[in-house]
Amino acid sequence: MKIAFQVNGKRTSVDVAPDTPLLWVLRDTLGLVGTKFGCGKALCGACTVHLNGMAVRSCQTQIGSVAGQQVTTIEGLGGNHRVQRAWMALDVPQCGYCQPGQMMSASALLATNKNPSDQDIDAFMSGNICRCGTYPRIRAAIKAAAKMS
């Protein structure tokens, strides 16, 4: 079944079962492998993307529900997004595997909260696991990004 939607500003259509998670459509069908598989149960946040600007876990988002909507992945964040600039300035990543999801969550947080407090960061970012322990730098980078234009 053909399902049409937008990815990173481009119209696309895929012919897959409608219950296929958006994660695997992005990675396997469209080759956008920046979005990562971590747990398959919305427990770790590695697969976070934006759906119409909101952070969602793509492993739990069926492609059928995405028809006609706008998806943004790490590839679509542009490379020069303030979150990405802050992540680079503070050398946040270690292994880096969880970081696309971290940045997609952080950019969604900053889109609705111009100056997040520590508590706001805790509440919004606690769905994203990092096993390398980059949490202090993620927190600092979100605050740094908040100050950027």
């Binding site: 590839e75 606690s126 390398c132 949490y135």
Partner: protein, 737 residues
């Protein structure tokens, strides 16, 4: 004694490989090594040695022969080469090296990333590789110009000579690679370092990791590739008895269903299809020898084994007599559970096995072993197996194992096509090689002032090396089971006697970040705190007063240098006392705990400050660490490794516990296996490095161990409850005394 591990490990490796020549002596490094790929067929680059490739376009590529799993080898190792090569570190290319003799880690005896050895092994070797290449470039220029090398200078990728002569490295590369390899390679003194020790140096892999373009194993795509999902026996040691794949085979998009050594794989056009089809498989298992294994039986087995005398791994004096004459004896027992590695990237490998060759693309810590095990699994020869190492989405020791590469190779061969095998999180967590569980018993004899006079230590746990490197295990002692206490840093003048009792539980155990430091040092530094409490002494001063200022050294674990650690520990403890605000008045329910440890030639003193609620929930308010890791190559990433270790150790000691029922691991995802999240990270993290120009110590692991007893001791200070069973859950804290 320090050489035992490395030599024996290499011998095991050679046994496995069969093809690596016996000449790979320790200390084998350039410039005496063979030149590799002197120039490519098109003349696009030349290589003065195996670590450096210089393009005719002046682009310098530095080979990284260790696996980048977050610990920064992608930057810190090229920094060492570039320092002496005289190139701009920010303009170089980095490539992961293929398996080759020249890339063997002399501290481990294989091309293997682990044991916090990468930078320590590279420290002199890579600077010499850079210096040697620079000297050959300068010699080529001097020869061209008919002048002597002393009148030429190399800087920023250019050689300059008398009369304004100037030549880029690219223009000299072809000739330089033919010049004589220098025998004497002097190195810069630390005072002249421009790159090493630069506080502002950025990681070279950050841009790709921030843009989402860094290629992890799971991101591999090769032409004609299909996707494999697997079903493995839930019980450890189980096997496929029989299976019905009639539904899976006919599932739209499925290309093949194959049985392989460990389970059944469904190969399909995409991973989701493979996964859904795999769910339709009807498999009957042969449960194997662990069919009835549960935690009760498992702990009973460890308890019974613990009654055995074990093998002595450190002893001096007459411990029994000293114990008899002690004013008081204090006994205690600690229990540590199995824990999982759970890196964020689940195990995966892309394999393309053909009749006459195989390509294995994999996130591995042990690329050198893969050709040999894949050859064994496919009937190919090791030299027919090409291995490409990707970025690793975390390693922590899990990817020292090569099981998942073997699986993918078998599946590709059976399916007759290139496949990317991806494990689900559930596959990953239930088929890990777990950190060993164990029991750690102490009996201390103290004098009337509470000072330690005699110490008995007896540990009982499974041996990791008995499976992975059996010949390092000698007389019942696995060197990787006694780290963290064989270098016991305190005095016990009357005598001490440390024993290890090996006990196989049936559960697969593996090297887990900091390995047995996590077991022994966690127990030891908790117990030393008990002694301080019993003596009515301040825990920091009690430790300082008992430090052995003499020749404390490792008896078994050769991954540390065996240098005296007492003076370094004293300094670290004194500094952490100041930096942590030790002993200041704290609100009710809040407490400080200290721990100190040497591991991988790095000394860390750490103070944890925690708040314990009435329900025994623990919040980590603050961690202060003072670290003596010798020379820091990339200081900001030395800091990152300490931040990382603290997080990883926190997860293990606060929540980490793998349990079994009917031989199967019960935890299978992050809902049942809890790890630290951002809201649980220490509210404050203060990490200080002692300025030092001595040889680098390892940083990827030791902090993982030392943070755990620091937290335990803080829990005691805050609540009066001393947890001796890990993890430090409210239940375990409440149950303690």
């Amino acid at each position: 004694m320090a050489n035992i591990v490395k030599n024996e490990t290499r011998r095991d490796f050679l046994k496995v490989s069969g093809t690596v020549a016996g000449g790979l002596a320790l200390g084998f490094y350039l410039p005496s090594g063979p030149r590799m790929a002197q120039a490519d067929a098109g003349g696009g680059y030349a290589s003065p040695n195996a670590w450096v490739r210089i393009g005719m376009d002046n682009v310098v590529t530095i080979m990284v022969a260790r696996s980048e799993m977050g610990q920064d080898v992608y930057t810190s190792m090229p920094m060492l080469v570039a320092e002496e090569l005289e190139v701009d570190i920010n303009k170089i290319n980095v490539e992961f090296a293929p398996p080759a003799e020249v890339y063997i880690n002399a501290l481990l005896g294989g091309q293997l990333t682990g044991g916090s050895t990468s930078v320590r092994d590279a420290w002199e070797k890579l600077r010499k590789a850079g210096a040697s290449a620079r000297m050959m470039l300068v010699a080529a220029a001097a020869d061209d110009w008919g002048t002597d090398v002393g009148s030429c200078k190399a800087a920023d990728g250019v050689v300059t000579g008398p009369g304004g002569k100037r030549a880029t490295y690219g223009s000299l590369a072809a000739k330089a690679s033919q010049m004589e390899v220098p025998r004497d390679v002097p190195l810069k003194p630390a005072s002249q370092f421009k790159i090493v020790g630069n506080m502002r140096q950025k990681r070279l892999d950050t841009p790709a990791k921030v843009r989402g373009t860094a290629q992890f194993g799971i991101d591999t795509r090769i032409p004609g590739m299909a996707y494999a999902a697997v079903v493995m026996p839930p019980m450890i040691g189980g096997k496929v008895a029989s299976y019905d794949d009639s539904r899976a085979k006919n599932y739209p998009g499925v290309k093949a269903v194959v049985q392989y050594s460990r389970g059944v794989a469904v190969v399909a056009q995409d991973y989701w299809t493979a996964k859904k089809a795999a769910a339709t498989l009807d498999i009957r298992w042969d449960a194997g020898p662990n069919a009835n294994l549960d935690m009760r039986a498992l702990w009973k087995g460890i308890e019974q084994a613990s009654a055995q005398p074990g093998a002595v791994f450190r002893e001096h004096g007459d411990t029994d007599a000293a114990m008899m004459s002690a004013a008081k004896t204090i006994t205690s027992e600690y229990r540590l559970p199995f824990v999982s590695h759970s890196p964020m990237e689940p195990m995966n490998t892309t394999a393309d096995v053909r009749g006459d060759k195989a390509v294995i693309i994999t996130p591995t810590q042990f690329q050198q072993l893969i050709p040999h095990v894949v050859a064994g699994a496919t009937g190919l020869k090791p030299e027919q197996v090409e291995v490409i190492t990707t970025f690793l989405g975390g390693g922590f020791g899990r990817r020292v194992e090569v099981d998942y590469a073997i699986d993918a190779a078998e599946i590709s061969k059976a399916a007759g096509m290139p496949v990317k095998m991806v494990w689900s999180r559930e596959d990953d967590m239930t088929h890990d090689s777990y950190r060993p569980a164990g029991i750690y018993k102490f009996t201390a004899g103290v004098d009337s002032s509470g000072k330690l006079q005699a110490l008995r230590f007896h540990s009982t746990s499974p041996s990791i090396s008995s499976r992975l490197f059996p010949s390092v295990v000698k007389d019942g002692i696995d060197p990787f089971a006694v780290e963290g206490i064989d270098n016991f840093p305190y005095t016990a003048d009357g005598g001490l006697r440390f024993t290890y009792q090996m006990h196989d539980t049936g559960v697969t155990v593996g090297y887990w970040r900091a390995v047995s430091h996590n077991l022994n040092a966690v127990a030891l530094e908790s117990f030393i705190d008990e002694l301080a409490t019993a003596a009515g002494k301040d825990p920091i001063q009690y430790r300082i007063d008992m430090l052995d200022m003499g020749s404390t050294k490792h008896q078994w674990s050769g991954l540390s240098a065996g240098v005296p650690v007492g003076p370094r520990m004293k300094r670290a403890l004194e500094e952490v006392r100041k930096k942590a605000g030790w002993g200041r008045k704290l609100p009710a329910g809040r407490g400080q705990g200290v721990a100190v440890m040497e591991g991988y030639n790095t000394v860390i003193a750490m103070v944890a400050e925690v708040t314990v609620s009435n329900a025994y929930d623990v919040q980590i308010d603050k961690i202060t660490a003072v670290v003596d890791a010798g020379t820091l190559i990339h200081p900001d990433q030395a800091l990152a490794q300490m931040q990382s270790c603290i997080n990883y150790g926190q997860s293990a000691c606060m929540w980490g516990e793998i349990t079994l029922k009917n031989g199967a691991v019960e935890q299978n995802n992050f809902d049942t296996y809890r790890v630290a999240r951002i809201n649980e990270a220490p509210k404050e993290l203060n990490i200080h490095f002692i300025k030092s120009d001595s040889v680098p110590g390892g940083l990827g692991e030791p902090g993982t161990a030392v943070v755990q007893p620091a937290i335990a001791n803080a829990i005691f200070a805050a609540s009066g409850k001393r947890p001796r069973t890990l993890p430090y859950t409210p239940e375990n804290i409440r149950a303690s005394t």
